[in-house]
């Protein structure tokens, strides 16, 4: 937990402040703030956050996720999206235009990957594909990272993902649940790069390093 590297790693139960402070990844006990996770400490004047190295995805309304159709059970598709609870895509929410049930069943067979939005969380999680970006994912490759690393893959104002897409000439979709879909000839290199981001997300200068890594890999490939 050295400060020289520019970040501090904390373990659960580490005393972070002697006064109750708000933030993510912390808990308050007897007016003191402690860490909840093994992760990187981010301190500001009013907040204390701990960014965990790994955590399971917790669905939020409005998240765009990549999931896999597991089964059909009238009137909904059951979609697996690597969260503890499954999500449900109702037939009425599959498309903004009208489609016959038989046609939908043909298109969304079990095993199909989809990109959708979480529309509602009540007793069950309801998905919707009525947004413009939503689609069925055909071809391409999948990669997965911890959901805590998703902001790093996208980068500040999408700088990282733009850079990767331009260099490798691929098309990438990132789900908030940590599933990434890559389409293009250099998909294999992108999968490796995403794994690298997952490992080294906390070290500064990430975009430059990934850029160099991609240049090297692309040269080797040719």
């Amino acid at each position: 937990m050295e400060d020289e590297k520019g970040y501090i790693i904390v373990t659960p139960g580490t005393l972070l402040a002697t006064s109750p402070k708000t933030g993510n990844g912390t808990y308050i006990s007897e007016n003191k703030t402690y860490s909840k996770y093994l992760g990187i400490l981010k301190k500001s004047e009013s907040h204390i956050n701990v960014l965990p190295f790994k955590y399971s995805y917790r669905p939020m309304v409005g998240d765009r996720i990549i999931g896999r159709v597991k089964d059909f059970n009238y009137p909904f598709f059951i979609v697996n999206m690597t969260s503890p609870a499954p999500s449900f895509l109702y037939l009425s929410d599959v498309s903004s235009r009208f489609m016959e049930q038989e046609e939908l069943l043909q298109q969304y067979k079990p095993g199909t990957w989809i990109y959708a939005e979480i529309a509602e969380i009540s007793d069950r999680i309801k998905l919707s594909m009525k947004i413009n970006e939503a689609k069925k994912l055909e071809g391409g490759r999948m990669a997965s990272v911890s959901p805590s690393k998703v902001p790093r893959i996208i980068g500040k104002s999408a700088s990282m993902i733009k850079m990767i897409q331009e260099k490798t000439k691929t098309h990438i979709l990132v789900g908030q649940n940590g599933v990434v879909w890559i389409k293009g000839d250099n998909a294999g290199i992108v999968v490796k790069a995403i794994e690298k981001i997952g490992r080294e997300a906390h070290i500064s200068g990430l975009t430059d390093r990934i850029s160099k890594y991609l240049d090297g890999e692309l040269k080797n490939g040719k």
Partner: protein, 238 residues
Amino acid sequence: MENKLIKDGVRLDGRKLDELRELKAELNVSRSTEGSAMFSIGDTIAVATVYGPMEVYPRFLENSEKAVIEVNYTMLPFSTDDRNRPGFSRRSVEISAVIKRVLERAIILEDLPKTKIIINIEILGADASTRCAAINAASMALVLAGIPMRDMVSSCSAGKVEDTLILDVAGKEDTEGDIDIPIAYFPLKDEILLLQMDGIMTKEELDKLMDMVKGGCKKIYDFQKETLLNIEKDLETK
């Protein structure tokens, strides 16, 4: 008795009275799980793997306010000198229940409603205080799996052999000693989560032993923490 277990304050294996055996730990030993850890103290080796949080089956166990945890402790057939019958036994069920109670206090269950966490603990080598090694391994694996925890739990055993109090019972001291006490300790709040004992001892002796064993637990806690803070090295190699 000809072969004394303790001679001039030195034990059979050359340790001092309040010395722990060698500690070793390895992180993420299994790739298919959310988090896993190996913890060994001397010849006792425990491997813990954590699955989840996941859907609760059977459904009636589901709790809408907090997570449900399941602990499976098993000793592998080759862990002891005589072959151990594989599968669950009366002993392993009891120890699983005991460990479950310890971990329920350490995990912030309210953060993960309607979910289940499965913790499997395998004992690869048994040389006394297996439940202590199991708790240590399980708490490290839970931290690695990214499950919200109040603090890490550390656990250690102590005992009484030939009227002398010793820390971290091992080998012959376990089979021929008078008393064996495993405890699980919560350093943050100075809380004792597990205390089991067989044998007879006075209150003064117990107080003394508690101080000793808390010291041992703190050493283990520091070791666990140090190992986890070195996670970066682990990430680079894998």
